[in-house]
């Protein structure tokens, strides 16, 4: 029993250590770039850290950016564990925002009801949009990476039309909706900052997803289907049904991320792009977190800090904020490299054990020697 725990901890710390190494490596490479552009690395890092945490305003910015990143990361984790990864989070996020604008602007209710309803609308929008890809995969075998990628583009067009057409604020020359009412928006925690109460979604969502995967029958089926299609079928689970449900659930989480971007944003009106790119960055967060729901929080913090600090850094020391994109991209590459190396190392280690593990194809099974 203790051994099992120790084993679990060891595997967990390997994963964690790996993520830390990747982050450090990316930052190290980034410092080289900083030096190359004529700024001392310490000055650059100082500017970055200050921009992310240096003042109330900056800290608020970092924390608020964490919310949609964490939610998208959780969405990826759910669907990844089921073996069904897709890249539709940006589109689901946008359609979620669209549904949010409907409920926020077309219904008049007291805040205590209006806000939860708006959140539910966001989740519903994302779930429905993901449902398209889920159905296409389950019933027609359409590759979900392709379908969601294309659906993302469609969502962009839908939202562009949405804020210029049916929901356009007639009084504004810009492609914006009317300002969303206070009753449908999160309240701010710190006055005149970006920090809103939607931050409570982070612990709630992480706990919910972690609980779902570890302690529920549905979560078990997700993991079972992700572990192997054939063994899942033998155990009576339908990979199609469970996989499609996982995709829809991930859509709901992405839609919820979209809601945060709209009703916890700096402006009350919704534009045509509440945060398309976050749908992809969230995947990077999940990868850095090695697909652990709890690990998504520090990973999201890191990415949020980089984005927030990068913006400020541009102003103070003149390093382009695209350095941040570079660092984030580098981290994805390094995580994938590390994952591959770990996999190969494990396989080589396993090849050292018994005849069972090394028997190649076509070799007869060992029979009892009389």
């Amino acid at each position: 029993m203790i051994d099992a725990l120790r084993g679990r901890l060891r595997e967990g710390s390997i994963e964690f250590g790996l993520s830390v190494l990747v982050a450090l490596a990316a930052l190290a490479v980034a410092s080289l770039v900083v030096v190359a552009s004529g700024v001392s690395p310490t000055e650059g890092i100082e500017a970055l850290v200050d921009g992310a945490f240096g003042s109330d305003l900056n800290l608020a910015g970092t924390l608020s950016k964490m919310v949609p990143l964490t939610l998208v990361a959780l969405a990826w984790i759910v669907v990844f564990r089921a073996g069904r990864f897709h890249v539709g989070f940006p589109g689901q996020l946008l359609i979620g925002s669209m549904f949010v604008s409907i409920v926020a602007l077309k219904i008049s209710l007291p805040g205590i009801v209006h806000l939860p309803l708006t959140l539910a609308a966001g989740a519903l929008g994302g779930a429905l949009y993901a449902g398209i890809a889920a159905w296409l995969w389950a019933k027609r075998g359409v590759n979900e990476i392709l379908s969601t990628l294309l659906l993302n583009l469609v969502a962009v067009q839908i939202l562009a039309w949405w804020v210029r057409g049916p929901f356009h604020d007639a009084g504004s020359p810009l492609p914006l909706t009317e300002p969303l009412p206070e009753s449908a928006r999160w309240g701010t925690i710190l006055e005149r900052t970006q920090l809103h109460w939607d931050i409570v979604l982070i612990p709630l969502a992480v706990a919910a997803v972690a609980f779902l995967l570890a302690r529920t029958v549905f979560g078990f089926r997700i993991r079972l289907v992700g572990a192997g299609e054939r063994v899942a079928r033998y155990a009576g689970a339908s990979p199609e049904r469970v996989g499609a449900s996982a995709i829809v659930l991930s859509g709901a989480l992405a839609g919820l991320a979209g809601s945060s971007l709209v009703i916890a944003g700096s402006t009350p009106a919704m534009g045509e792009d509440p945060g398309f790119a976050i749908g992809f960055t969230g995947i990077a967060v999940a990868l850095l977190a090695r697909n652990s729901p709890v690990g998504a929080v520090p990973a999201a913090l890191l990415f949020a800090a980089l984005t927030q600090g990068g913006g400020v850094m541009e102003g103070t020391v003149g390093i382009s904020s695209s350095l941040v994109d570079f660092i984030q991209g580098l981290m994805i590459v390094l995580v994938l490299a590390a994952t591959t190396l770990l996999f190969l190392a494990r396989r080589r280690r396993r090849a050292g054990l018994g005849p069972d593990a090394t028997r190649g194809a076509g070799e007869p099974a060992p029979r009892a020697v009389a």
Binding site: A4, R215, V217, Y234, G236, G354, D356, P366
Partner: protein, 529 residues
């Protein structure tokens, strides 16, 4: 000119070169000769001093049941394994075949059961892709021309411009053979060539092999089907338990003799098989038929398994065993026929229904069907039971109850594991199988389907499996044991049949089975048996 070059020249010109090298005793040098080949793997002696000889222009059949050592031997010839002892002579010269690439250079080619062709390219393109003896890439025009030449000479009937994925299986096999010929192979090894062919396709292939042999190529094909030998082979070498039992020209033998050689052992009565008075039939199968893509995979299968009885299905793999299990447990729907478990009809495509009616299955492929390697031991043990009220309420699993059950099963079935929380992949094959047994038998089923339950296990684990199955038998459980190991069938079952070509030709009492009958049945000779 080397012997290899001479062979190639013959193939190209269709004539025998004047003055083939002759050995000192005046006989022609054999294309391949194996002397005293031995190969051992941990726990088993796969080849034990095997000697055989293949002459030029001869078709040799290598006959034996599962585990006789045929595939290992051919893998040695093809350079996949190194023998522990013995000699290999190719064209009279001693060689050590280091790798498949080396084997190809020596003119040896092997056609495996799984084709290695690019589906959306043409035949000519596929042949051009495979490495040939001449350096540099093969020009597509040259390949097409040589294909047309080979085609007309050997009566190939394969269009160089045909796209592979449109070709029937028989044609694909011919393309694989052509690839080998293009590489200059003059010794062809075919592993169970009829596994995926229809009878007319086999007739075409055997005619083709015959014409190859007439031109000087040598062919070895591995088989367990007596029919194939008598259609096309010149000689037959029979392997059993890693040793050569006999080597005879086909013209001097008959099917019953070969059958006896293939199987012949003292079929002894194993006293420790529990004698249980069988009860009512638990599993009843009537007229089960499965036809897919024009191929008949299961044909009119009828049998009963009674409570407290072990009913065996013997036979070589690939005769419909996998499909039969899939149909029985609800993973595949049959074309016709009826299955009744405990009196209730099973006709829904639903593995849960099979389990609900008291069925349990120990699958053949432990790693992909039996266990989920990435999940924990606990997850694996309870995977079918999580939604039972004893382990979950409102969809939430009770971790203590689940752990308690898992630990009880681990103790009862002697699963060696550091804990129930570790991933299944950390356990050895034997312990993984014990976990599968724990999961399936621990549910107190009324029917257990055990498909190759001792595959890949060491002696201790095998004994454990047999003991547990016999326990179930004594408790009145019906057991359907499907196995490719005849010994297992003979020692564990009360009655058994031999599955050939998707059919159950006869049911034999285990105590009354004789080698000739069993051998004939396995060799596909149901009428003669």
């Amino acid at each position: 000119m080397t012997n290899r070059g001479a062979a190639r020249e013959e193939l190209a010109t269709g004539t025998r070169a004047a003055g083939s090298r002759a050995a000192a005793d005046g006989q022609a040098v054999p294309a391949l000769e194996l002397v005293g080949i031995s190969k051992a793997f941990p726990g088993v002696l796969a080849n034990d001093g095997v000697s055989l000889r293949v002459a030029r222009g001869e078709i040799l059949g290598l006959l034996g049941e599962n585990g006789a050592g045929k595939t290992t031997l051919m893998n040695i010839v093809y350079g996949l394994y190194q023998p522990d002892g013995g000699e290999i002579l190719v064209g009279g010269e001693r060689v050590a075949i280091r790798s498949p690439q080396h084997a190809v250079e020596l003119g040896i080619g092997m056609v495996h059961q799984h084709f290695m062709l690019v589906p959306d390219m043409t035949v000519a393109e596929n042949v051009a892709l495979s490495p040939s003896r001449s350096p540099g890439l093969s020009r597509l025009d040259d390949v097409t021309r040589s294909l047309e030449e080979l085609s007309s000479r050997f009566g190939l009937e394969v269009e160089p411009t045909a796209v592979v994925e449109d070709l029937p299986v028989g044609a694909c096999q011919r393309v694989e053979i052509i690839k080998l010929l293009h590489r200059g192979a003059d010794l062809l090894i075919l592993d169970e060539p009829t596994a995926a062919l229809t009878p007319p396709e086999w007739r075409e292939l055997s005619a083709f092999l015959r014409s190859l042999a007439d031109r000087g190529s040598s062919v070895i094909f591995i088989t367990h089907k007596l029919d194939e030998l008598f259609g096309v082979a010149d000689r037959c070498t029979v392997l059993r338990d890693g040793r050569v039992v006999g080597s005879v020209p086909i013209s001097e033998t008959d099917k019953p003799s070969l059958a006896r050689m293939m199987v012949g052992r003292e079929i002894t009565l194993r006293v420790d098989r529990p004698m249980v008075e069988p009860g009512e039939p638990v599993l009843e199968v009537d007229g089960l038929t499965l036809v897919e893509d024009g191929r008949t995979i299961l044909e009119d299968v009828d049998f009963r398994v009674r409570a407290g009885e072990v009913f065996g299905v013997a036979g070589v793999g690939g005769n419909g065993q996998n499909e039969l299990v899939e149909v029985l447990i609800g993973l595949r729907s049959a074309t016709a026929g009826e299955i009744r478990l405990g009196g209730r009809r099973l006709d829904r495509l639903d593995p849960s229904e099979f389990v609900r009616q008291g069925g349990a299955v120990i699958p053949e492929d432990r790693q992909h069907e039996g266990v989920a390697l990435e999940l924990s031991v606990l997850d694996n043990l309870l995977m079918r039971e999580f939604d039972r009220p004893s382990f979950s309420r409102w969809g939430v699993i009770d971790p203590d109850k689940a752990r308690g059950r898992a630990e009880r099963l681990v103790a009862e079935y002697d699963v060696r594991t550091p804990g129930v929380g570790v991933p299944m992949r950390q356990l050895s094959g034997g312990n993984q199988q014990k976990a599968v047994l724990a999961r399936e038998l621990g549910r107190d089923p009324r029917l257990v389907i055990a498909f190759q339950p001792t595959r890949g296990l060491d002696v201790g684990a095998i004994e454990f499996v047999y003991r547990k199955l016999n326990e179930q038998k004594r408790a009145g459980v019906a057991i359907l044991l499907i196995s490719f190991e005849l010994d297992e069938i003979l020692s564990m079952t009360d009655r058994f049949t031999v599955m050939v070509g998707g059919r159950f030709p006869r049911v034999l009492e285990a105590d009354e089975a004789d080698p000739e009958t069993v051998g004939l049945l396995m060799g596909g000779e149901a009428e003669r048996a």
